[in-house]
């Protein structure tokens, strides 16, 4: 079963199962075990962080559930014991506030999670030789500060902002790659039906385009099936002309096309 623990002010780890408080790596303080009622009070206060818990509520939840009837002093002693324990474990701030005539509240920064989330086992071999036995006991489970900082970062607005920027950049890369993906013939002009073909031409002049297509047809048989499309390219360098004849518009993936390249040859000047 997973062990739920609380990280208090990024400083202390509270384990309600063994009623212990211990500082995270690199901070002063030592492991402290608080008595059960104090531990249960702390658990309730942390679970209702920043909320005022009345004395009545605490009595009911901590003592009366067990069938015990205690005086108000028992509660105050438990809270006092809790404050001392927090201090001894290394917490400098007073996170348990007394709210006059109402009760108590926790004003801590609290993160709840499973023990494995916060604790990373440290291999024994990495420990310095001096005082190995004692150090091993305390260092087997340590919470690296770096990991806490990383977790905090991923929970911050800055992280989400950076993620948003990364997503936009990522989409930008894709857009840039696909930009200019329009058809070679996208700006060709539709001329009309010529020699049974729906003729598109790089030259917008209808008469000139139709005339050229007919002239090419007399030079080599350019025939279209029903619904066939011809794309005529009049090369500006006049080194040759190109006709692409397709059985349908080229945008269709099933289009079958054949190209005809009319070039100057040795007989032409």
């Amino acid at each position: 079963m997973m062990n739920t623990v609380f990280l208090i002010n990024d400083t202390l780890l509270f384990d309600p199962n063994d009623h212990s408080l211990r500082p995270i790596e690199g901070l002063p303080g030592s492991r402290v075990v608080i008595h059960t009622p104090a531990s249960e009070c702390l658990l309730l206060l942390l679970r209702h962080n920043h909320q005022v818990l009345t004395q009545r509520f605490l009595f009911e939840q901590v003592w009366e559930k067990q069938g015990a009837v205690v005086t108000t002093n028992a509660l105050y002693q438990s809270i006092a014991s809790l404050r001392k324990g927090l201090h001894a474990a290394g917490l400098t701030e007073n996170i348990i506030k007394t709210v006059p005539k109402m009760g108590f509240k926790s004003v801590a920064t609290v993160r709840e999670g499973i023990a494995e989330e916060f604790i990373v086992p440290v291999p024994v071999i990495s420990l310095p030789p001096a005082g190995v036995n004692k150090a091993t006991e305390t260092a087997l489970y340590e919470l690296p500060q770096r990991r806490t900082r990383v977790a905090d970062f991923f929970n911050s607005r800055l992280a989400y902002l950076l993620a948003g920027i990364a997503f936009i950049l990522s989409c930008g890369v894709l857009y840039m790659q696909r930009a200019g993906g329009e058809s070679f013939y996208s700006d060709y002009s539709y001329i009309g039906q010529v020699n049974g073909c729906l003729l598109y031409s790089s030259w917008s002049g209808e008469e000139k385009s139709a005339q050229t297509f007919r002239a090419l047809g007399s030079r080599y048989a350019l025939t279209c099936k029903s619904g066939g499309v011809a794309y005529l390219t009049l090369n500006r360098s006049l080194q040759g002309l190109s006709v692409l004849i397709c059985d349908r518009k080229i945008a269709y993936s099933t289009a079958e096309c054949q190209s005809y390249i009319f070039r100057k040859d040795r007989y032409e000047s």
Partner: protein, 157 residues
Amino acid sequence: MKASKRVACWVLIVLLIALPLIFAWYQAYKRDHFSCDATATIVGKNISYEMITHFVFSEGTGTYTASGQLHEEGKPEMNTNNHFTFKYWHEEEKIIMISKENSGMENIFSHYFPYTPDFFLYRERGISLEIKRENASSYLFSYDGTPLFYCTLTKTN
């Protein structure tokens, strides 16, 4: 629970960031790994050459294979076969191809079609073709603004 939700959220965010990049990479990969077939006819005065060509592009090295028939008025048909390898790279929307071998067709083409780009005939000659994806299954290769080949993708190289 909160922590696992946060982890799941970040996994989703990372996926969202990575997906367009993966798709862009896949598109770039496909642009560099494909083979296609084209049919073309070169027409001169009283002469024509009908050919079937096959291009293979793979990581900077390609092959060009063509078989065709030369028809000249008053002369018997001549069958030709042409195969050579080339190296290539992309520059913006263009592909630069450099032939690695002679085609073996130099004499025929330089005689009948003197404006044939040297790439198709001689070793170590370059050509810059514009390659456009016209539809899901085909590319259009154009040279100097003139479409040359409508090349339909083949499943295998």
